[in-house]
Subunit: 765 residues, 2 copies
């Protein structure tokens, strides 16, 4: 009886606990912080401009200016296996494979002032501190850790534009807050251009930092305020070229001198603290000015209530995460699901002040009228599934993101839409001009309220920028020649897809001329298909295919982040034609099987970037993006049920609720967006199309709470980890006789039910 | 008959010519461009933000970072003795002894593109060109020269914020305009921080330049437009650390790439030109933004009419110069007079955009409400005579200058009024806190419409900034001790005078407490007077005077830019007491005679800064400022007429209408302001007082056209170069029984007549 009662209680309590547990409580920002995930464990709000997170090392650059693999590890500033924390900085990319940011590193210390960071092996040699994961709490919008060397508990939370630090000090006459203006994240050397700092009064400091990193000409302004008056302060300038010349020498500028400026400055602020005394810091950012940073701070966090700011941010997360209410087979799946959603709602990041001002690509300040301006567009990654996900559950924001891209275009002296937009700069990372995919998809799906015709013009102009990565040649010859650039095949394939997007947009806008031109261009993928080898292959200017060719290799083969096994699948807009050309449905099914089951020798794995060994299945590279649609291609073969199997396998293998749970860079949410779509049972094979390929849902059920007030439900019958096959799909009560659903079907609300089974339904459509 | 007719015609024509010749036509900007004058020959309008002038060398910094005497020569970018021109840049100080500016050097060339400047000995080795003074025209707001190596005639003129270039090219398929963003003027090494440039379209380029020179954190924005479309363009980046990394390599950024950014960039623009074809460039500056630069350009020079802009600027000069209509004994005197006036109306310089925006000391952008904001305050120099001159003939502007100082104070985290304000920075050059003199003088003379009480507060707070150059010790001990800083005696003397100014202002505002405090402080000069030596002398913390003491030496003696012979005279606010303490009127008269007649040995002359041998008379150093009032001190002795003789001698010896006509740095107009006052027959011994010491006018007559609509006339009888003595002064018809006039007497209009004589009137008061 006791046992039975206990059993009942156990079930009940679990039920009650689960009922009371809110989505944000399933978020584990620590997922992906080990090895290649390149996510960060710190605090941020959805799409927040501030990402306040610990740095576990300061290998922000190496001395000889060469690429350093160790630095690559710190794209997000944090590696789970590290034993020390250097400090907490305010800006971080989530999941990138190149690096920048890491602005305004703050570190609280006690004891003798040390202004150098020290080394990981000897943290006592500098201001850094050892820490243990046992003391670490990493939640949505909250991070906490004990800095053991200084006996300080560090806590942080944020609003959209303000980082909020709370440090609990021991009793000490020598408590310090260090503001390291040298520290930063960057793969390729010293990026500091200039820093300026002004102690306005004994609680307020403002200034800015200019860097030339991945973003070449970038300035971040700040306003920093302390909850307790500064007792004294000072700086050390590490630039040997910068001396206090001439009449500057009138002042001892190292101590209590309120104007600091230079290329390599570390500042510090001294306090006396009692046991357990909390010193709080609000640190606001602006892309425009010190004043705007201060205005952002006053607007977003007027008081000093840390718990309220934390709570508000977590409720903001909850609101966003609740857009998909999900039930899963187990807690881990739910953690994975909401953490993936969390990771999809980090980038792009807000790049507008509360008053609407932002810095544009032209380095002028602009006023965002009728939209919030965003930055951090990792478009080669995110056009695939992240922006399509937004077109369902972040419609307003995705419209603003298109407006941001259009503003970028208007400010571009190159007259190009963004390729990889970072803080009022473009770094042109990766291939293609995929902003056209995002724009077409958003307009076709009705999420952009701006001038669609102007958007089409911007797409066309970008796609005709002859001097950009072989576009001229592509326009003349129908392909980028191998001699012209190292990514010639990737470029040709991606341009062809992007051109198809432009054609779809033109069609939507009844622009026949543009449609005809670009639908023709969209067939250019055929020009790099080598029937002899059966693969997409580098082609010479002469028209013949290149002799030198290795189907397993990535480097020097005309591809980027994927060998031809993966890239040859890349005709998302016309898989039927691609499959027909490659030997037909049956042959292609076997080919896909090989992809997932063959062995990629180590020498070739080493060439894939940004992923761990766990990031591949056979020769299918999920940790990179080019073949993200590959599993869904089975839908077009004689063995369509294999999509269901593969998708469930990828979901299980590639996403785990642990620090090393991501097999590759999360890539600003693209990896996570793949997870969300695939967990729900459908996937946007070709953004720009209104169709979603059906796969195999991993959830028990999910309710999509749409911005139009409607709900779209995904339900399952017989769901289990073994029942990965879909024997029947019922849409709004009727059996669905296709392997896709449409955007309209989702957005008008309703229910899609998947009948699950351990065996494939080989008879189903 | 013929001869007679010719003679009559000669006289008549000369008369007509003189009658038609306007004041601006007497201006010779070339005066002071040789040796130590440090003026520039280029184009500017009164108080203009743009000073467009040739650079004759690019020794803008030397490689080893040490001070370089050769660089010092180029404070204004131009030395008359040089044989080559490197280019034309848009910002120049007039007459300073430290350097900065030289922004945006433009050079037109033909033939093979050369992006390095080349050397003076081999101009063909780079883009520079030989030139001859024979082809040079240097007028108020107009400069012209033939660049012989390129067969290009260069002409330039300006509006307040825009430089207007006009280059007449030969026929060439290879005509270039080089924009050198590396070139700049600075004594102490490489000051470039960052430059950004954007080719907006084929006639418009915008961008900015950041430097850390004499102004530590300075940015100048620009907008540049060509009258003819650019055929092609490019850049070379000279920073070995700045490579086109990663995806930047997608573009050939050296050619026709519209976004340039870096620390060391030279850009060029190519054209094809026909014989005699003019390419015009409008180059606008802004302290705030690229957009404001463009707005400044559109507002000030909407079209392409070079002659109109030149004419408008020259008429603007005429308007200002007409504030004193003068008749002189000869043409040279008139040239000297109007060139001196020209030099007094160059600084401070406008630092506000047409829309009222400017960058403040706090590096925030501000809106100037109700005033124009100014920069370039060389206050240690200009408080003496330049701002007092403005209080008579630039009342409105001087009020705006006080407003600018108050804005500086409000933006100062140090809570200090400006010492030497340059482009939103203070370099704290020289000693004292002389902004209080300028402010007190302006308020006492009724030229500041702002909050006088707030101004007094700012003066008091500045004067009590204990950590600034010994002020704390000065407040505690009544003097700055020799151990405390190298300028201890100068500081004590100048603080005492400044304190007297604060007392005068307090009196004006009926603030008895401040008056009492500062009138007491104003007597501190007595604390550094050593009765034993009869000189002001460094005093130790202990109270005893320093043993080591050399009355002829400047270096290491506690003085700055003046030995104790000069500095011991520095009690402008209480000469009677100073003279009494130093042995009385008769003894002091002899002492003054010695000053003007003794020989300063070469070893000590070498220690005086910023002047040529011609810049001294005996041991009286006119080329520096501390003794600028010395000649007028005779008025307080038993031989008052010697003021008249000395003043006329200084006017003749120190000011000549030639390139080497200035014996020392013009110091932002102070040397020239001394000339104007002294030529008119009166001088402000102690700004803050309403009195002007009478000297000996050098003009035949002069009419001061005051802003209040009244005129004040200075007339003479028996004026000649020999009749330097004043036998009688008649003010508004009545004999004047004092050796001074008051500000009120001038400002209410009227006439002062000086009866001149070859012999002193030893009986006169």
């Amino acid at each position: 009886m006791k046992k039975i009662l206990f059993g009942i209680c156990g079930l009940l309590c679990a039920y009650v606990a689960q009922a009371q547990k809110q989505p944000y409580q399933y978020v584990k920002p620590i997922i992906g912080t080990e090895k290649m995930g390149h996510t960060y464990p710190g605090a941020t709000v959805p799409f927040g401009a501030v990402q306040l997170s610990p740095e576990t090392d300061t290998l922000s650059y190496e001395q000889n200016g060469k690429y350093n693999g160790d630095v690559y590890k710190y794209c997000a500033g944090y590696q789970y296996s590290d034993k020390t924390i250097v400090g907490f900085s305010h800006t971080h990319f989530s999941g990138t494979g190149h690096s920048d940011l890491g602005d305004f590193l703050i570190m609280p210390t006690t004891g003798k002032l040390q202004l150098n960071p020290g080394t990981a092996n000897e943290p006592q040699s500098g201001y850094r501190s050892a820490f243990s994961h046992d003391t670490e709490v990493s939640e949505a919008n909250y991070y906490k850790v004990k800095l053991t060397d200084h006996q300080i508990t560090a806590e942080m939370t944020t609003s959209a534009r303000v980082g909020f630090h709370q440090y609990t000090f021991p009793k000490s006459d020598q408590s310090h807050i260090i503001l390291d203006l040298i520290s930063g994240i960057y793969n390729y050397g010293d990026k500091n251009v200039w820093t300026y700092l002004r102690v306005v009064n004994d609680t307020l400091v403002t200034g800015y930092r200019q860097t030339s990193g991945w973003a070449r000409t970038r300035t971040v302004y700040f306003a920093m305020t302390f909850s307790k008056p500064i007792a004294s302060y000072g700086q050390k300038n590490y630039d040997p070229k910068q001396v206090y010349r001439g009449f500057w020498g009138k002042f001892d500028q190292t101590k209590d001198f309120p104007e600091m400026a230079g290329r390599k400055i570390r500042a510090y602020f001294d306090f006396k603290t009692t046991e357990g005394e909390k010193i709080k810091i609000k640190f606001a950012l602006s892309p425009v000015s010190q004043e705007n940073a201060l205005e952002n701070m006053r607007a977003e966090i007027p008081g000093w209530d840390f718990e309220k700011v934390k709570r508000d941010g977590q409720q903001a997360w909850n609101k966003e995460l609740n857009k998909i209410a999900v039930n899963t087979l187990n807690e881990d799946d739910k953690v994975n699901f909401y953490t993936a959603m969390y990771h999809t709602f980090i980038n792009p990041t807000l790049y507008t002040d509360v008053n609407g001002a932002y810095r544009g690509l032209d380095q002028n300040n602009h006023q965002a009228k009728g939209f919030d301006n965003y930055s951090t567009f990792s478009l080669w990654d995110t056009y695939r599934a992240l922006h399509p996900l937004f077109n369902i559950i972040q419609q307003k924001r995705n419209g603003d993101m298109v407006s941001s891209m259009m503003a970028h275009y208007d400010q571009s002296s190159l007259k190009m839409l963004p390729v990889w937009s970072n803080s009022a700069n473009d770094n042109w990372c990766m291939s293609g001009y995929h902003s056209v995919s995002v724009i077409a998809d958003a307009i076709i799906k009705g999420n952009y309220t701006g001038d669609a015709s102007a958007a089409l013009d911007a797409c066309v102009t970008t796609a005709k920028h002859r001097s950009y990565e072989g576009i001229g040649e592509y326009m003349d010859k129908g392909y980028v020649a191998s001699e012209s650039n190292g990514n010639s095949v990737s470029n040709t394939l991606e341009y062809a897809y992007d051109d198809w997007c432009i054609a779809q947009l033109a069609k939507k806008l009844n622009n026949t001329a543009v449609y005809n031109e670009f639908i023709k261009r969209s067939e250019n993928w055929k020009n790099v298909y080598d029937a002899k080898s059966g693969f997409m292959r580098p082609r010479l200017k002469s028209g013949t295919f290149r002799e030198k060719f290795d189907v397993l290799s990535t480097n020097g083969q005309g591809f980027i982040e994927g060998n031809t096994w993966n890239y040859s699948l890349y005709v998302p807009h016309n898989p039927e034609a691609m499959i027909a050309l490659r030997g037909g449905k049956k042959h292609f099914a076997t080919h896909l099987d090989s992809l997932f089951t063959m062995h990629l020798p180590d020498e070739f794995f080493a060439e894939t970037e940004d992923i761990t060994r766990e990031g591949i299945i056979g020769n299918y590279v999920h940790g990179n993006e080019p073949a993200h649609h590959a599993a869904y291609l089975y839908n077009y073969t004689t063995t369509p049920w294999k999509t269901q199997d593969r998708v469930r396998m990828i979901l299980k293998k590639m996403y785990k609720p642990s620090s090393d749970g991501l097999g590759g860079n999360d890539d600003c949410g693209q990896m996570s967006a793949w997870f969300i779509f695939s967990s729900l049972g459908f996937y946007p094979m070709a953004p720009g199309s209104l169709n979603y390929e059906l796969g195999s849902p991993a959830v028990i059920n999910a309710t999509l709470n749409l911005e139009n007030g409607k709900t779209f439900k995904v339900t399952t019958k017989n769901q289990s980890d073994k029942n990965v096959y879909v024997s029947q799909v019922i849409l709004n009560g009727a059996i669905l006789k296709r392997r896709s659903i449409t955007h309209e079907e989702i957005m008008k609300g309703g229910e899609i039910q998947f009948i699950m089974s351990a065996k494939p339904n080989t008879k189903a459509l």
